[in-house]
């Protein structure tokens, strides 16, 4: 649920017919993806570059000029490496309009034009015609939810790089270096990673109170919902908060075996068994937050009962934790740490 628009469109299909309700079951089931770590086998400066990902291997024969990014995250890395994609997804959410602010700033700095927004069809699929019309040299979907069918269709348009293992999950080092190798800028990619690591480390140092606080990160409780969605360690949100000094809840980490998704749903009956001292969440409206924290069972959960929780009201910061890239981190990590610091339990 972390990606409102895409999920909205996909889940709407569920609402439109009864039969599809059954197929939602399979949508909830673990995907069959048996991935291996995406490894770049190319040394700097040498094409072809071959990238491994969940749907196989993709070879890029020459330096791509026209880049389309699908999902989140990749577009930040591409821009950070000095290239402007020709097509990206819409990031509109709350106070974020169309483009992530740090991405738009970087494009302006590079003197490029803001990319076209990739549309979705009413069936919730990418508008493949539009992608074709952009005549990309490469399609980067390193942090996305593309299906194998999507992948095959995209491959007919241009060499496509899918995510490494799980939908909407990626590792900062691995993703950044993969994009770096595709663009033949691996050294620059490493430099960006070092800078981002240093920025996170500085923010962590400025907030020693984060040390050792066991946290959970999830979304709000919807009307009629009886489970709470919590992000698993494979989602980049969790490692980012760990880098800031927080400790991931071991109970949530244990759920990683139950699903291949980037999140796990926890029944409200079992929520009390999930260790957490500090809960981070996002919501679309203040009413969503109220509904969540006032639920009779959620309100009994340790971090909520203690008033030790933080729901993002600034969607810019929520995005900055959702896809914490080498581009977003330097411009947001201090604001992010300050926002979290405003809500962490005082005495720890």
């Amino acid at each position: 649920m972390s990606r409102p628009v895409r999920r909205a469109e996909r889940a709407l299909v569920v609402l439109t017919s009864l039969i599809v309700a059954a197929s939602a079951l399979s949508a909830c089931a673990p995907t069959d993806a048996e991935g291996s770590d995406t490894g770049s086998e190319a040394s700097s400066g040498a094409y072809p570059v071959t990238v491994e990902h969940v749907y196989g291997e993709t070879t890029i024969d020459e330096k791509p000029e026209r880049i389309v990014t699908l999902g989140w995250y990749s577009q930040d890395v591409v821009a950070a490496l000095g290239e402007v994609p020709v097509g990206v997804e819409d990031f509109s959410w709350g106070n974020v309009d169309t483009y992530l602010p740090w991405f738009a700033d970087k494009v302006e700095e590079l003197g490029g034009d803001l990319p076209e927004i990739i549309r979705f069809t009413d069936a919730g699929e990418y508008d493949f015609e539009q992608i074709l019309a952009l005549s990309p040299d490469v399609i980067l979907a390193n942090h996305s939810g593309i299906t194998e069918t999507d992948y095959k269709r995209l491959t007919e348009i241009a060499p496509t790089v899918a995510f490494a293992e799980s939908t909407w999950a990626s590792d900062r080092d691995q993703l950044t270096l993969t994009v770096g190798s595709v663009l033949d800028k691996k050294d620059e990619a490493q430099q960006l990673l070092d800078d981002a690591d240093a920025a996170v480390a500085a923010a962590a140092e400025a907030h020693p109170e984060f040390q050792g606080i066991v946290f959970s990160y999830g979304w709000f409780l919807g009307e009629g919902e009886t489970s709470l969605g919590l992000y698993l360690p494979r989602d980049p949100r969790v490692p980012l908060l760990e880098e800031l000094g927080f400790t991931g809840s071991p109970d949530i980490a244990a759920l990683e075996d139950t699903t291949k998704e980037f999140y796990a749903n926890v029944s409200l009956e079992e929520l009390g068994d999930i260790e957490s001292q500090f809960h981070v969440g996002w919501a679309n409206t203040p009413a969503d937050v109220t509904h969540t924290v006032e639920d009779p069972l959620v309100s009994r959960w340790a971090p909520i009962a203690a008033g030790s929780y933080y729901f993002f009201e600034d969607q810019r910061l929520a995005w900055a934790t959702t896809a914490p890239s080498v581009l977003s981190i330097p411009s947001t990590i201090d604001d992010l740490a300050d926002a979290l610091a405003s809500a962490v339990p005082a005495a720890n």
Partner: protein, 345 residues
């Protein structure tokens, strides 16, 4: 056609004694379903904990699970279940279509559409407001369907009404989808309302809806006998003195209240309204009075059992009851379709 159906009747119907006995069984099954719904959930609780939660609440987290979650969702099941079952029975009798369900008259689509418009255009929030939109939407659609299907040459026709219902339902579902697709906030607000579930519902919404559904159920029992005459066909029904128009109008009111109320409270839940009256007819035969009483008892049992399955079937988290009923309902529907003889009306 009439003759052959009449000839089948003695084969499918049981004696009054068997039907009364069956009723006792249905009540016992419902009691068992309620118990299961209180006892079984994602978290294993000792029966003693469940009992003291109900009668001697100590404020502990374990007992809160029973009191604040399992009990309310069981109550929602007991309110929504009979509404869905009886509504399905009414629609099947009134359209003389043994496989009809509330979807077929566009009632659910109307309720969902009105709530979506309320949230999307009028900024309505909260289940208490959804209730009124759902009821008004259900009523308007039913009236429009009745006007389209019920006027024209030859007077009201069940077939024409069904066609009108399906068509309007499709149009409204389409518009609902467009509104949701274009407005992400509406979508996220209605995400779980739109997937029918018993849990996580507002207590005050239950209090508002339950009286409506009670009225709808009473209406349904009252028109069971005239519906029997309608089942014989318009001409024969008329000669038997059934007030056709009156019975139709009352049926429509009943369907609107029951389907609109159930949808407002728990979101759209399919298959129960189709499956339960149909299956019940195998046992009771074609008498609407029995069908309605049995549907009112069997539907909540099925709904609660489906909800219990949804709580325990996933390794982590819970499945909405509407998904469970669809998964269970699909094979049952295939089974029904494969039977040589549909249990007719």
């Amino acid at each position: 056609m009439l003759v052959s159906r009449a000839a089948e009747r003695p084969v499918t119907s049981r004696g009054a004694a068997a039907r009364t006995g069956g009723l006792v069984v249905a009540v016992v099954v419902l009691g068992a379903a309620v118990l299961l719904s209180l006892m079984v959930g994602s978290k294993a609780l000792a029966p003693a904990t469940v009992i003291s939660a109900l009668f001697d609440f100590d404020g502990s987290d374990a007992q809160a699970i029973v009191r604040d979650s399992r009990l309310p969702r069981t109550v929602v099941g007991l309110v929504v279940g009979p509404a869905l079952g009886v509504c399905g029975a009414l629609i099947q009798a009134f359209t003389r279509n043994p496989l009809a369900d509330p979807g077929i008259l566009g009632v659910n689509a109307g309720a969902t559409f009105a709530v979506t418009i309320g949230v999307g255009l009028l900024g309505v929030r909260g289940p208490n407001a959804y209730v009124w939109f759902a009821l008004i939407g259900a009523l308007l659609v039913t009236l429009v369907v009745y006007l389209i299907g019920g006027t024209g040459r030859g007077g009201p026709s069940a077939g024409r009404m069904t066609l009108a219902g399906v068509a309007i339902g499709a149009v409204l579902s389409g518009i609902t989808s467009i509104v949701m697709l274009k407005n992400i906030e509406v979508f996220s607000t209605l995400r779980f309302w739109g997937l029918g579930s018993l849990g996580g519902r507002d207590d005050s919404a239950v209090a508002i809806i339950a009286p409506f559904i009670a009225v709808g159920l009473v209406i349904s029992f009252l028109i069971a006998r005239p519906l029997n005459a309608i089942a014989l066909g318009d001409d024969l029904g008329r000669t038997l003195g059934a007030g056709l128009v009156r019975t139709r109008v009352i049926s429509i009111i009943g369907v609107t209240i029951l389907a609109g109320g159930a949808t407002a409270l728990a979101g759209p839940i399919a298959f129960i309204g189709l499956m339960v009256p149909h299956a019940v007819r195998w046992f009771t035969g074609p008498d609407q009075r029995w069908i309605i009483v049995y549907s009112a008892l069997v539907a909540p049992s099925m709904l609660l059992l489906s909800d219990v399955i949804g709580r325990v079937v996933l390794p982590s988290g819970e499945l909405q009851v509407s998904i469970v009923t669809a998964v269970i309902g699909a094979p049952v529907l295939i089974l029904l379709a494969r039977r040589k003889r549909v249990s007719g009306l």
